[in-house]
């Protein structure tokens, strides 16, 4: 479903060039959950941005759902691939109600029966009809995250990219959101690509995960490997020992 081949991203300043991603390759089969872990500055978000063509790759290609990702992809591609941003509050228009926020992608992609779909999307993420006409600032952090997820789910994507879906939430809400995402993934057969720096969380959610360090994928392992401490790479060992 997701094929990343030899992607490099360079950031240029006046005096030097920083290689943020160095020859990253990985693939995620359809219907599976893939995690990307690494410390701050390891290039996780840059990879995600490159996958959505928000940041231009210097070389290499990203293929999602069989299509090469480019700056202005066809509308159908936009529907199939959705992203939930790290800061969910900033990703919701402050003057739009939840109703408008979830209704907008439905209108863009000309879905029929938006009324029913909005209510269904709210129900899917565990929000009631009473939240439908609230503004983002009238919702709690967890509810905002749910709205951000509902907005993406409403148009029935095949692939969802989640950037630190739980980093802004406290532990009890984190568990709720994680269970919600996992339940929806099972029900709808989504392919998920999750960024996190939280190793136990990734081990719980993902089938396989990649460990990134300084723009390089050090190792790709299964979550069972992670639990069994069955890793080969030096940096991964270091990361595991520091987090367990």
């Amino acid at each position: 479903m997701i094929e990343i081949e030899n992607v490099c991203v360079d950031f240029h300043t006046k005096t030097r060039t920083v290689r943020a991603l160095n020859d990253v390759s990985l693939s995620v089969p359809q219907g599976s959950v893939f995690g990307l872990v690494g410390e701050s500055g390891s290039g996780k978000t840059t990879l995600l941005r490159a996958m959505m063509a928000l940041t231009a790759a210097s070389s290499g290609t990203v293929k999602i759902a069989g299509e090469v990702v480019k700056q202005n992809p066809p509308l159908a591609f936009r529907r199939r691939v959705q992203m939930v941003m790290q800061d969910c509050y900033a990703s919701l228009n402050p003057v739009h109600t939840v109703d408008q926020i979830i209704g907008e992608p439905l209108a863009i992609h000309r879905f029929d029966n938006p009324e029913k779909r909005i209510l269904q999307a709210l129900k899917d993420v565990g929000l009631g009809p009473e939240h439908r006409f609230r503004f983002p600032h009238q919702l709690s952090g967890g509810q905002r995250q749910r709205v951000a997820i509902a907005r993406c789910l409403a148009i029935e994507p095949d692939v969802m990219l989640l950037d630190e879906p739980t980093s802004a939430l406290d532990v009890s809400i984190q568990a709720e959101i994680v269970n919600l995402v996992m339940r929806l993934q099972r029900e709808k057969g989504l392919t998920l690509f999750i960024i996190s720096h939280d190793l136990p969380l990734v081990a719980h959610m993902c089938d396989r995960l990649a460990i990134m360090h300084k723009g390089v994928v050090r190792e790709i392992i299964t979550s069972q490997d992670l639990i069994d401490n069955n890793v080969k790479d030096e940096y991964t060992k270091e990361l595991l020992s520091s987090s367990l």
Binding site: L54, L75, A90, P94, V95, P129, R132
Partner: protein, 298 residues
Amino acid sequence: MSTTFAQWLTTDRPASRAQARLVRLNLSFRALVANRLALVGLLVVLALVVMALIGPLFVGSPTDQVLADRLLPPSAAHWFGTDELGRDILSRVVHGSQITVRIVLMVSLIVGPVGLTIGIVAGYFGGWVDAVLMRITDIFLSLPRLVLALAFVAALGTGINNAIIAIAITSWPPYARLARAETLSIRNSDFVRMAELQGASTLRVLFNHIAPLCLASVVVRLTFDMSGTILIAAGLGFLGLGAQPPQPEWGLMVAAGRQYVLDQWWVATIPGIAIFIASLGFNLLGDGLRDVFDARSS
């Protein structure tokens, strides 16, 4: 289950989009009238509009001259007195409100959308689009408003419609700047990026995401500027370049009463007070609107 209308109008869980909109409108309105000065402004503006709509039905003709009754002081027969041609000043002030409301309304309806559109297009696209639009804006901005309006009226000819066009042409640049500045601050925000990622067209991003966020400040500015518009319209009338005699335009009436201001003060003072109250009303309303919009964003 029985709910009163008041409950229906203030519920925090509306059942339909229309109800949600009404609830929101109701709450904004309450916030506005809770501010006493804004309430005064709103009442003045409403009174002005009502006066323009139905006032002329209750007073006599604004142009009937009774030369025997020249320059009469305020009395029971002529509440505001009469002017130098024996015309009833009350009647002229009431009819004059129509001209004022028309000018304010037309100028706002032209200036708001034009300024907003130019501003958000310049801010969103940036680059040479921004450069071209903003330099044009700068050119208009660099000339004093009244002087530029005078030049336009001189070129287009006198009259109310030309005054409206002249005022509109000279007052859109600040709106373009305002909308551009607001657009720049939200153009790179996550929700705009998100809308693009969902496949929203440029038009949708501009008018669904960016324009509504700029609208609040534009509306507030527009309300503030309405008083300025009244003053400029009156100024053009005063200089003989706006409304023409015998039209009962307030600025024109002040100009005509200038000759008698020492002995027959009411001729110039009454329309002057009308101008003052109308512009004060719009200013107070603008203040209140700003507070309401600010309260929502915080």
